[in-house]
């Protein structure tokens, strides 16, 4: 196995994992039940005063769980192809997640994020800076998407795809169901009136 194919595998796994993280982040923000049970804790923590370590047990468990799953899957792919790049890419993504977490949360301080008055970021196609991510914590529902972990370009793509992705989210599904039952009720009323 040559270095080029190993390198391609590392980059490929990293890019796909980063996309999966951004997509999952988008979906959890459009799923109130899941958000309440899991991710809201993270937002509450970073919107308050800094009062603990950058990575707590919940965050280590969340990132660790994702890493265990991707490393297990990629290790099998490496075994089947003889290309160690798949496994290395998954490990690298885990290390990157931990390091970026430490970097991106450097705006967490004695002054709560919402009181820092951060301006909305530009709709950039570059890297997601610490300020870009801090704005996500203070204004997660802003029209400018800030779900990406490293490449802000994923947010721009998500903004473009949002009309098609939204119906697939928990909120979108619930709205579709509600609209369907409202139509059924209206149709029932109309037919009832006709009788």
């Amino acid at each position: 196995m040559n270095a080029t194919s190993t390198g391609f595998a590392i980059v490929g796994v990293f890019v796909v994992a980063d996309l999966v993280y951004a997509l999952d982040h988008y979906f959890v923000h459009h799923d109130p039940a899941r958000y309440r049970a899991t991710h809201s804790r993270h937002h509450r923590r970073y919107n308050g005063q800094k009062d603990g370590p950058q990575l707590d047990r919940y965050e280590l468990s969340t990132y660790g769980t994702a890493a265990v799953m991707s490393i297990a899957g990629m290790s099998v792919l490496s075994l089947f192809t003889g290309n160690p790049g798949f496994l290395l890419g998954a490990v690298l993504k885990f290390v990157h997640t931990l390091l970026f977490h430490l970097y991106q949360h450097r705006w967490w301080s004695a002054v709560p994020l919402r009181k820092q008055g951060l301006a909305p970021p530009r709709r950039t196609w570059g890297l997601a800076s610490a300020e870009y991510h801090a704005f996500h914590h203070s204004d997660p529902d802003d029209a400018i998407f800030t779900f990406a972990e490293s490449w802000a370009g994923y947010d721009r793509i998500l903004e473009i795809l949002h009309p098609w992705l939204f119906p697939l989210t928990a909120v979108g599904r619930a709205r579709r169901l509600a609209a369907g039952s409202a139509n059924t009720t209206r149709a029932g009323n109309v037919s009832g009136a006709a009788r």
Binding site: M69, A72, L79, T81
Partner: protein, 126 residues
């Protein structure tokens, strides 16, 4: 926080199943029968019997581990031992690839479920 459904009971069940499956696969290889799916069946069945809950994440993990256990068993047996530990991919014919995929599939389908029909499903946050 445990999204994997990876309880002590599930681990013990999977490990005991892995040992039984590894023994059966090794025995089968000695009879010229290449059946890595025996490991998947053993590990999956172990987790299925022992797990108090259902979890697709656990199924995926057990499937990956079953393939690694099957790989370890065959790596010590001729003719596969000649390829060394990481030359496994060179031994994969279509039939053998299918057999290892069946190993993962059997482990996944069994390990994601529980023998208890009322077992609750593990989801994120539970």
């Amino acid at each position: 926080m445990n999204w994997l459904g990876w309880s002590t009971r599930a681990i013990v069940g999977a490990v005991l199943g892995a040992l039984a499956g590894a023994w059966m696969y090794h025995d089968a290889l000695g009879r010229a029968c290449d059946a890595p799916w025996l490991v998947g069946l053993g590990m999956g069945a172990g987790a299925f019997v022992a797990s108090p809950d259902r979890s697709s994440m656990r199924g995926l993990l057990v499937a990956s581990m079953a393939i690694w256990v099957a790989w370890a068993v065959q790596a010590g047996v001729d003719p596969y031992s000649k390829e060394g530990l990481f030359g496994f991919y060179r031994t994969l014919t279509v039939r053998r690839l299918g057999a290892f995929a069946a190993c993962g599939a059997a482990a996944f389908l069994l390990a994601r479920a529980s023998i208890n029909p009322k077992a609750r499903r593990r989801v994120a946050g539970s």
